[in-house]
């Protein structure tokens, strides 16, 4: 079959069809370049939502956040409700352990509910933390900030609990809400609720 014969009129494209194909090719090229950029972006991201403010529950988000930063992750921890206590410079040094509803403590609930019991179990726990060379909450907050972790304090709960922006450690991000946290979660490789 000869290749130099002009295409017959039936298979020839109309100028409109050619224009349509061109614009489709442009569209696909844009899409491909967007995907390539996304693929080249090899920075890993983790987002943790920290909602608890007891002594025991302050540790997991801080330890994971600072560790992930050491692994080269871009880390955001969004603190909301009692999670704000971890970022509150004064309160973070005095977080409590609840003795009620914790079956791992050597006290029955009926006794655990007595006045002063939380203070006692907290003192016991603090003693163990010191004896075992575990870093303090304050040290982990500062280490996380120094490692580039973005520690965020939810604005709605700052207002709800009557805190002031100056109550938090220097370097803590304020003025953020659920939408910005959600947006970061969408982009993250790991999302955790603590």
């Amino acid at each position: 079959m000869s290749t130099d014969t002009p295409a017959n009129s039936e298979s020839a494209l109309s100028p409109e069809e050619v224009a349509e194909l061109r614009s489709r090719v442009d569209e696909l090229e844009t899409e491909l370049s967007t995907l390539r950029t996304e693929m080249d972006d090899d920075s890993k991201k983790m987002v943790i939502i920290a909602t608890k403010g007891t002594l025991d529950m302050a540790y997991p988000p801080l330890i994971l956040a600072s560790t992930a930063a050491a692994f080269g992750y871009d880390v955001t921890v969004f603190h909301t409700f009692w999670g704000l206590e971890i970022l509150h410079e004064e309160n973070s040094k005095d977080l409590k352990l609840s003795s009620v509803g914790n079956p791992n403590l050597p006290v029955p609930n009926a006794i655990a509910a007595l006045p002063g019991m939380d203070r006692m179990t907290t003192r016991m726990m603090r003693g163990k933390i010191e004896d075992n060379d575990v870093a303090s909450v304050e040290e982990l907050v500062r280490t996380s900030l120094d490692s580039g972790v973005d520690l965020q304090a939810c604005q709605m709960t700052i207002d709800l609990l009557g805190y002031d922006e100056d109550d938090f450690y220097e370097g803590v991000t304020t003025g953020v809400g659920a939408a910005s946290a959600f947006q970061e979660m969408v982009d993250a490789d790991i999302q955790l609720l603590v």
């Binding site: 330890i63 600072s66 050491a70």
Partner: protein, 83 residues
């Protein structure tokens, strides 16, 4: 094996997650080809530092040793920054 170290990081008496975090900080300060020695007492540092080196570009775990010094177990980790 000979592990000529350039820098030594002492994290004795520190517990998870500090050995890994401080290792990362000291590693970042190394020049290419230099080796960091990390001295720790945290038993968890053995798997933690191995895992960190495995996931970190340019970090090559040369050796990990365990010895008893003054009645406590001391773990030494040798990490080289690839050239």
């Amino acid at each position: 094996m000979s592990t000529e170290t350039t820098e030594t990081l002492d994290v004795k008496g520190q517990n998870c997650p500090m050995p890994v975090i401080k290792t990362k900080g000291a590693f970042d300060e190394l020049a290419d080809g230099e080796t960091l020695e990390v001295v720790a007492t945290d038993a968890g540092s053995v798997s933690d530092i191995a895992g960190w080196a495995d996931s970190t570009d340019g970090a090559e775990l040369l050796d990990q040793t365990e010895a008893s010094e003054d009645g406590e177990t001391v773990y030494k980790h040798y990490i080289r920054k690839a050239e």
